[in-house]
């Protein structure tokens, strides 16, 4: 377990890190997010004993890093873009580290195989690509088979295959009961991996809670198209929803998809499309770090519920989402004109789109109340494309 308690680092009058408090618990992956220069790396450096805090505490398994007994056996860290001497081979680098922490040298070859560097083991680290250096850094972190993994922007330089590999590795580590703390300046990069999120901005924690709560804090938006948009608009507004349009479909906030379907059914308006847009995570993140949005959960909540399901189990990977073909937008004015309605009907009837299947109340499957908004996606479409 990782605990940061009022951790502060000041350089003169500048507080690079100011009272940072959060917890990363075993069995979960905690994302530590912030823009460049927000204090992520400084915080991790203090956590790892590389720099001294001005005040506060950073604890791993209840003690300071410096007080850990053989820390490499308990904590593995990936910092920067993979640290190694450019004149050493990958195997020599790992052997040096194995000797340093007292690990059997036989583990070096096992790890080289595991991270996909067996073929490049004798190559100089200076000739490694950025992605290879990151893989070597991960191997270095795993040498001591630590329970706690701390990674600072580990995805930098990794190709999509490498990112998928790293994601699986970290998820497996968490599933096995390990603690994972991973930093990034891109929420979307971690959205498929992390269970808990800590957002830092200008040295202070702006948000700390399970990721599902961050999703839940964002208003789910429904995208609805039907035969009579005016009547639908009125019906939704009478039901208390906020309605807008992008010129082609209605954008409805404040209704569950089931309720929207029921309302349309009762209003006697056939639906051509009913989809729930995923919240724009990147926008939520940017709002939080910019301080433009109200903080949707208690700041620095120290202990995310270890029992809540991992976010990665709730949210599908992009490959699981069905892409929606792009369609030409039309103006709001034309949306309500009879000519456009006719053309819309014609187009809708002539196209076969997975995303435009009308979901009637009788067809709607019940959705568990505690599921995240994405679980309610009826047509598996996203408009934001941020996942």
């Amino acid at each position: 377990m990782i605990e940061l308690i009022e951790l502060t680092k000041a350089y003169g009058r500048v507080r690079a890190v100011d009272g940072v408090t959060f917890t990363a618990v075993p069995g979960r992956v905690t994302g530590f997010l912030g823009l460049n220069g927000s204090g992520k790396t400084t915080t991790l450096r203090m956590l790892l004993g590389l720099s001294r805090p001005t005040s506060g505490q950073a604890l791993i398994n209840k003690v300071r890093f410096q007080e850990l007994d053989n820390p490499a056996r308990q904590v593995g860290a990936v910092l920067e873009q993979g640290i190694s001497h450019p004149g050493q081979s990958g195997r020599a680098h790992l052997t040096t580290q194995a000797l340093l922490i007292g690990v059997d040298r036989a583990r070096v070859d096992v790890l080289l195989e595991q991270v996909g560097l067996a073929a490049a083991a004798e190559q100089r680290c200076g000739d490694y690509s950025l992605g290879m250096r990151q893989r070597l850094a991960v191997a270095t972190a795993l040498l001591g088979e630590p329970q706690v993994l701390i990674l600072d922007e580990p995805a930098n330089g990794l190709d999509p295959e490498g990112i998928a590999w790293l994601r699986e590795l970290l998820r497996d580590h968490a599933r096995a009961g390990g603690t994972v703390l991973i930093s990034s300046h891109l929420l979307a990069e971690l959205a498929q991996l992390i269970d808990d999120v800590v957002i830092i901005s200008e040295g202070t924690v702006r948000y700390a809670a399970p990721l599902s709560e961050l999703y839940g804090s964002a208003s789910a938006r429904l995208r609805i198209r039907g035969r009579d948009p005016q009547r639908l608009w009125r019906a939704f507004e009478e039901a208390g929803a906020t309605v807008d349009t992008d010129g082609y479909a209605l954008e409805v906030i404040g209704l569950a998809p089931e309720d929207a379907g029921d309302i349309a059914f009762e209003a006697g308006v056939p639906l051509y499309e009913l989809a729930s847009d995923a919240p724009n995570l990147e926008q939520i993140f940017l709002n939080l770090v910019a301080g433009d949005a109200p903080v949707p959960a208690p700041v620095a909540a120290p202990a995310p519920d270890p029992g809540s399901p991992p976010a990665a189990d709730l949210f599908p990977a992009p490959a699981d989402l069905i892409p929606i073909p792009s369609e030409p937008p039309i103006s709001a004015e034309s949306l309500i004109s009879s000519e456009t309605l006719a053309s819309s009907e014609t187009r809708a009837s002539s196209e076969t789109r997975a995303s435009s299947e009308t979901r009637t109340p009788s067809e709607a499957a019940p959705i568990e109340a505690d599921a995240a908004p994405e679980a309610a996606v009826t047509t598996a479409t996203t408009q934001e494309g941020d996942r």
């Binding site: 450096r45 890093f65 920067e80 640290i83 190694s84 001497h85 050493q88 340093l100 922490i101 007292g102």
Partner: protein, 200 residues
């Protein structure tokens, strides 16, 4: 501490530039020892200083000091292990490269050099912990020796390099003075080693 020493020695032997440098200096040492025992002694001292400096500053230049302190966060122990490594390398280098001196009738020079060379290595390594960068340290030390010790004090004051030369010449008092300089640098290093490690 032994684990750090083993790791450091392995690292030195597997970094191609380091291994190459040691081999080249050893070759020059052997050549110098054939030409003159004093030249060999001077080279051995300068080399020991260089080994001490580069052994430490490479860790900061390539940021592997981060890995070192992540694995062994008790930095004083790491410092002592690194100093011991420097002593081993310096002593080994001098012992091997000066074999000709030993068997050519200058055994006293050989033994005196083996006494002062590890101290020179300690001085270089300890100063490297303080400065952390090789070029400013080597250039600064060279400027100090040339302009301060040689030109200004004419190598007559008990300053580090003057004391080293005198100690290598068999002056017992100079040996103590030189050891004092090295220990002063080690004390400074014990404070300096606790500084933050910059990973940016």
């Amino acid at each position: 501490m032994i684990a750090v020493v083993r790791s450091e020695l392995y690292r030195l032997s597997t970094i191609r530039s380091s291994a190459f440098s040691i081999a080249v200096f050893a070759a020059f040492g052997i050549i110098f020892s054939v030409m003159s025992a004093d030249m060999w002694a001077l080279l051995a001292g300068v080399s020991a200083f260089g080994f001490g400096v580069t052994g430490i500053t490479q860790h900061y230049q390539h940021r592997t000091a981060v890995l070192l302190y992540l694995a062994r966060p008790k930095r004083i122990q790491v410092l002592l292990a690194q100093l011991l490594t420097t002593v081993i390398v310096s002593l080994g280098f001098a012992a091997v490269s000066g074999v000709v001196v030993l068997f050519s009738g200058d055994a006293d020079v050989y033994l005196r050099t083996l006494t002062v060379v590890p101290i020179m290595g300690l001085l270089g390594a300890a100063m490297a912990i303080v400065v952390r960068r090789a070029t400013p340290l080597v250039v600064g030390f060279a400027v100090w020796v040339i302009f301060i010790e040689a030109m200004y004090f004419r190598m007559e004051q008990p300053l580090p390099f003057s004391a080293y030369l005198d100690a290598a010449g068999g002056n017992g008092r100079a040996l103590v003075q030189f050891l004092g300089w090295a220990l002063a640098a080690v004390v400074a290093a014990t404070f300096s080693v606790r500084r933050d490690v910059n990973v940016d």
